[in-house]
Every structure is written in structure tokens, then in C-alpha cells.
């Protein structure tokens, strides 16, 4: 009978704080070690470069955090990224089919709308038809990828509008524009999650959907919305990636869902929903980014990088497991 507090054995205040800050501490240690191992690491150019690289995974991970907090999963982020990127590219390219090049902002809007639509399809099927998120988004992973290839004839879309390329390559003051966009998106997401009732409902649905429903929350709508948010952010990431690489690549974003899920999980969000934080996700994104970058600088083969990343994911979850195991 669980009548008494089943809190973990009290490890002392100091260790509690260390535990709370574990990802931040891990991040600091890694940065410190890398700056010792290679002097190039701490250079401003390299750090800015890392930020630019992580902004894509960062955007995907924000959406993934919303989805996982409700107890769902979105496996289709990489494909939605590609679809959004290719749609945007098609409207700013001078060399794509008969579609004329239009105002780049309108093009971006259309690309974002395309990704949002895919997210909305995920959301409707999951919340109304009650197909499990894993299956629906696994299907969408394939559907959206296929649609991307069909739309682009399987070819990269090149010869893009110069103004548009600024979105991926330009600077807002000292920050690369993709980084600035990621930071703004992060701030908005943080406010939505922690300062609006919608954010509270996201946690409530993941915490106990039945209780949330009886409390008058439209659970279906909340679930629908998190997939819409995910789809939108994927398309945004796809647009940034297109502008950065100067081409709409139909094969872009392959297996990006793994990095996004990894960042969320490393950030301490529970796969069963209701528990986790956006700050944690941000740290998870940075952690993965720095490790990738550091191993690149140390010229470690990308094969080893994959092994390393996998071990970090499992390690992070094992830590959580030991923590919650001492609850019992």
C-alpha cells in the first residue's frame, strides 16, 4: 500500500543539486575536455559553427519535446523537414519545373504550411482515429519522404534566390540567422509551455490523460496541436537547411529523428510523458552538437561517433532508471 511518501532516499542537498544540473555539468566537462584536447575548439568561429549546426536539430527537438511530453513520439520529423525544405526551394528556384520564382517570404510561408499540414495529418489520425503515434508517424516517415521525392523528381532543387539564401547563410548582428531563429523559436516555445494554459495541458495530458479529460481539458485538441507544432518546426528547420546548403535536397534529414529523440531523452524528458523540460532539451541538443563537433575536430571516424552517441543515449536513460529505481 503506497500510503507513505515513496520519495527516493535523501541523498543530501548537494547531491540533489548536482543531480538536477547533471546535463549542464556533463556539458561543461565535455567542453573543458575538448578545449584541452584541441585548441581550435574554443575559437569563436568554431563555437558559432556548432551553434549553426545544432539549430536544425534544435528546432526538431523543440517540437519533439512537446510531442513526447504528451506521451507520444514523432518519427516523421526528418521526412517532414525534407518536404518543407523542398517545397520552399521549389518556389525560390529559377530552375524548377514551371513553378515561377516568387517572393522568398511567400515561398517560406508555403514551405512552412506544407510541413504544418503533414503535422496536422499526423495529429488528426492520432487524436481522432486513435492510431498509436509510433505507427502513424512511422507511416508518415515513409509517406512524406516519398512525396518529397515525387515532388522533386528525386533531384536536388538548385539555383535558389539570393535573398533567400541569406536566411541560412547571413548574420543577424554577430549571430548566424539560423541560430537567431532557433533562439527565438526556443523562447516562444518556452513561453508557450510554461506561461500559457496550453503548456500546462500538455503536461497534464502526458501525466494522466483520463484525469485531464475529466478536468475539462480537450485532450484530443492538445494531442493534435503538438503534432502540428512539430510539423511546423520541421518545415522551418528544412527551410533553414535548404538556405544553408543552397539546395532543396530530397534526401535531407534522413534519420534526424534519432538525434531529436536523443536530445529530448538526454535532456531528461520521460518517454511516457508528463515529465521533462525544454531547458533539458536545449542542453541535450548542445551536448550532442559539441560531441559531434569535438569528435570531428579530433578526426574520429563518424562510425565511432555513432557508437559514442548511442552509448550516451542509453547511458542517460540508465541514469534516470537508477534514480527512479531508488524510489522504490
Amino acid at each position: 500500500m503506497p500510503e507513505e511518501a515513496s520519495a527516493p532516499g535523501k541523498p543530501g542537498k548537494f547531491w540533489t543539486i548536482v543531480w538536477e544540473l547533471r546535463i549542464a555539468i556533463a556539458l561543461i566537462i565535455i567542453c573543458f575536455a575538448l578545449s584541452l584536447a584541441t585548441p581550435y575548439f574554443m575559437r569563436e568561429r568554431n563555437l558559432i559553427n556548432v551553434l549553426r549546426q545544432v539549430s536544425v536539430n534544435g528546432l526538431l527537438s523543440i517540437g519533439m519535446t512537446f510531442v513526447i511530453l504528451t506521451g507520444g513520439i514523432d518519427l516523421s520529423v526528418g521526412s517532414m523537414l525534407a518536404f518543407g525544405g523542398v517545397v520552399t526551394a521549389s518556389f525560390v528556384s529559377n530552375a524548377f519545373k514551371d513553378i515561377p520564382s516568387i517572393n522568398p517570404f511567400l515561398a517560406i510561408f508555403l514551405g512552412l504550411a506544407a510541413g504544418t499540414l503533414l503535422g496536422a495529418i499526423n495529429g488528426v489520425v492520432i487524436s481522432k482515429v486513435k492510431v498509436t503515434p509510433f505507427i502513424m508517424t512511422l507511416g508518415m516517415l515513409s509517406i512524406a519522404r516519398g512525396m518529397t521525392y515525387i515532388y522533386s523528381n528525386g533531384m536536388p532543387i538548385t539555383d535558389l534566390d539570393k535573398t533567400f539564401l541569406q536566411v541560412g547563410q547571413g548574420y543577424a548582428s554577430f549571430l548566424p540567422i539560423p541560430v537567431a531563429i532557433f533562439l527565438v523559436a526556443f523562447l516562444i516555445a518556452w513561453v508557450v509551455l510554461y506561461r500559457t494554459k496550453f503548456g500546462r495541458y500538455v503536461y497534464a495530458v502526458g501525466g494522466n490523460a483520463r484525469s485531464a479529460r475529466i478536468s475539462g481539458i480537450n485532450v484530443g485538441f492538445i494531442v493534435f496541436m503538438v503534432y502540428v507544432i512539430s510539423g511546423f518546426l520541421c518545415a522551418l528547420a528544412g527551410t533553414l537547411l535548404t538556405a544553408r546548403t543552397s539546395a532543396g535536397l530530397p534526401q535531407a534529414g534522413m534519420s534526424y529523428e534519432l538525434d531529436a529523440i536523443a536530445a529530448v531523452v538526454i535532456g531528461g524528458t520521460s518517454m511516457t510523458g508528463g515529465k521533462g523540460s525544454l531547458i533539458g532539451t536545449l542542453l541535450g541538443v548542445l551536448l550532442i552538437g559539441f560531441i559531434n563537433n569535438g569528435l570531428d575536430l579530433l578526426s574520429v571516424s563518424s562510425y565511432y561517433q555513432q557508437v559514442c552517441k548511442g552509448m550516451i543515449i542509453v547511458g542517460a536513460v540508465m541514469l534516470d532508471y537508477f534514480q527512479s529505481d531508488s524510489d522504490r
Partner: protein, 500 residues
Amino acid sequence: MTATGTDQEIILRMVNVDKRFHGVHALKGVSIELRRGEVHAICGENGAGKSTLMKILMGVYAADSGDMQLNGHPVRFQSPRQALDAGIAIIEQELTPIPDMTVAENIFLGREPMTAGGLFVNYRSLNRMAQDVLARIKVRIEPTRKMKTLSVAEVQLVEIAKALSYDSDVLIMDEPTSAIGERETDVLFDIIRTLKTQGKGIFYISHRLKEIFRVADVVTILRDGEYIATKPTSGLDQDALVNLMISRKLEGQYVKENTPTDVPFLTVRNLRRRGKHEAVSLVLHRGEILGIYGLVGAGRSEFLESLFGVARPDGGEVLLEGKPVAHRTPYDSIRNGVAFVTEDRKNSGLALILSVKDNTTLTSIRKYHRGPFVNRRREMRDVLRAIDFFGIKTPSERQLVRNLSGGNQQKVVLGRWLLAQPSILLMDEPTRGIDVGAKREIYKFMSDFANEGNGVIMVSSELPEVIGMSDRILVFKDGRLNGEVSRAEASEELLMQIAT
């Protein structure tokens, strides 16, 4: 057989056991002794430390300090396995059968007798051993039946047989009767008497005080983690025991000060849902507490769900002050001032992994909006108001709800609905599994709430509660309304008659 146990040999001794969780001092130097042939009840409100003490004994938790001696030897168990091997078995409140295995397989899980080669399970001997254990407690269940074909009560008896099969000296029974009926309880008490004559010691935990007087020789009372007293049950009565369990003196268990009016408030006409309940009609008046009694499965909870919009009824209408209202979703009901305290707070009431604050304002948060944002100052003010109003015991509003005791969890549910400012309260088993003190506070809340011109519909399986709190009682049977009883004529016998 009336062994008071005082001259018997001590099997188990726990001395000065101390245990702290995060911010909670769960056990404050508790000592207890168990003798051969003794049934030793442990009493206390929820959160008093009963379960923690037993979990330390079983090696589930480690004590921060204190000693344990088994048959005179100091012991300290690291796991339930070690405790079992040393001769301490527990019959847990929550049953954990493996549904697709047979009775015999469940009893001897992990200890199956093997054939000569040691490769295969010797089923013949397995079934015979199970037969023997079941016979020892005079239970007639075929060992080859699958667990999933058994009733809850039968599963409980199998669990008891399993605990006995370890031939333990010490048995812990944690709410063993919560899932079984009168007849099975009698069987269980016969078994306990047999075990006493075999010289076993039994720790018995139950909320049902009557049982304690029927079966226990001595009772140890805990309160807020503190040892209060150990007394022979022969020298106590129920009131004296309750007074030891709670710090304040209890004047009557029920608080009933509301005066019902005859102004109709909520009218239900022919509300029905196929397969769940037939057409039900009722009127709830302002100021009234309307009780609904019935056996488990009579359709009472299902009726409340139809009424609140959790499930869509097939027909019928609901009128609020004479005006028809459509409760298609819980949200509609809440907007019309209806609140629903569900039967199962862990499953449908609370999000256990969220904080007291987030659970409390889940329904009312839409009221705190300033533009698109939550006005957190107003939210916090209301949270503190709810915590204060119900006296919710929590280290802070940020504590996770799963770390609270059952009574405090239920108060969080009530706090949530209070902040939604309802005028009609639907309550399904509002005091299930919570302690006497918290029960009384909830009764007082119901009474005050009704007295302000609101209405309460209370579903309960506890006859004394229904009779003690209701102004009128509706009785459900087999999914339909089988009768109505006024407060004046209500008696346990009459209600049972209509319900069965």
C-alpha cells in the same frame, strides 16, 4: 484458542527503527515485538508509517537506524527475497497474479519441482504440492485452473496460500480483506486461527477496525510515524482505538449539518447508456446530499459518467434549474458548474507525476489568463488557498502528488474542484482508502458545501457512510434504479434488501 501471547516466545523484534524520506520523517524510532501464536494488528491513519515499517521488515526499504532481531539473531534484509528465505512472508494488498498461469504455477513460481534430469517442471508433483497448501487452509480451488478464471476473492486466497507455502514463521497481511467479501473473510479468519495454533506470528494491517477486534490479540498504534502504544485488544473498544489513532478527539464520525430544501436543482430524465445502465430519472434539490447506494457493478459509477459527459449517453435529458443542458463532454459540465470527484484518484483523478500546484489548478487555470498568459500570482494565491482550506499536508506546493498520502491526494482532487467553483458536486466513493481524520474533514466539506445552496450526489459502497451523510438514498441494482429511501427510514438492512 485465546492466546494473548504475553507468555509466548518472541519471534521478531524491531527496535528504534527510524526512517526519513526526502522531507518526511516517516518513522520516528518505532519499536515492536511479535510473539509466537500472536496476531498483532498495526493501526494508524494513512501516513502513520504502517506500510513503511512493514517494508523495512521485508527489506524493501533500508532503515536509517534501528535494529531487527529474528529468533534472537540480529538481521537486516537487503531484499524481500532474503526476508522470505529467513521466514518472513507478506500478503500484499495489491494482487499480482500472472493471469495465464495456473494456480499451482503461481504458488510455486520460481520454486517449481523438477523432473529427475532437472530439465522439466514436474507438473504432477507441482499440482500435488499446491493441492496440499490449499487444503491446509481449507480452500477448494483446482490447482490446474488458470488464474484469470478466478474471482478476485479466489485470487486473494491463492495469494494467501502462496505466502503460506514458504512455511514462514512470520506473516504480514496488508489489508487482506479489501478485495474479498464476508464469506471469504470468515474463511481467512479461520485460516488465521489455524496458523496461530501452529505457532506463527502474524502482523495484521487493516483499515477495518471491526476486523481487528475480531482477529487480533494485540494492537500497536502508530501516529505520524511515532509509536503510540501497544495494547491487548481485549482491553480496548473501537472508540478508544480511534482516539489513540487520531490526535484530536472524535465526536461522531459523520458531519451532517446541511438542511435540504425542496427547490429542484438538477433534474435527470431517463438518462440511459446501453450495456451500462438503464433509464435513470432523479431530482437533486438545492442544499441536498443525495446518496446512491448499490453493489459493485450495479451501474452507479457508469451513471455518474453519463451525467458528467465522460461517456456519451444513448438518450435522456438533463435539466439545470428547469433548463435543458447538454453535457457532451466534461468541459460542458464544468462550465455549467458541475464537478466530478472520480472513484479512482490514481487512475482518473490525479496526474501523480505532476506537482500539487499543477494538479490543483488543472481545471481552474483557464480562469487565470491575462491575455495569452497565465497570471501566476493569482494561480499561486488560489493554490495556497486550496491547500489551506483542506489542510493538505505537503512540504510545498511543488511536491509531486505521488509523494502524498491517500487522504491528502483526495484533498488535492477536492481542492481542484473547489477552485472551479462548482454548484453541483458528483462524488464517487469520496472517502475510499483514506483515514478517519481526513474522512471527517471531507464529510464536513460536503455538508458545508450543500448548506450553501449547492447540491451533492454521492455514490458509495459503504453503508454507514451512505446512511450517515445522505438526505435521500437511491439504490441501484443491475444497472437500474431499484428504489428510494428517505433519511428517516434508512437502515443497513433495508438498503441491502433493495440492492440485492
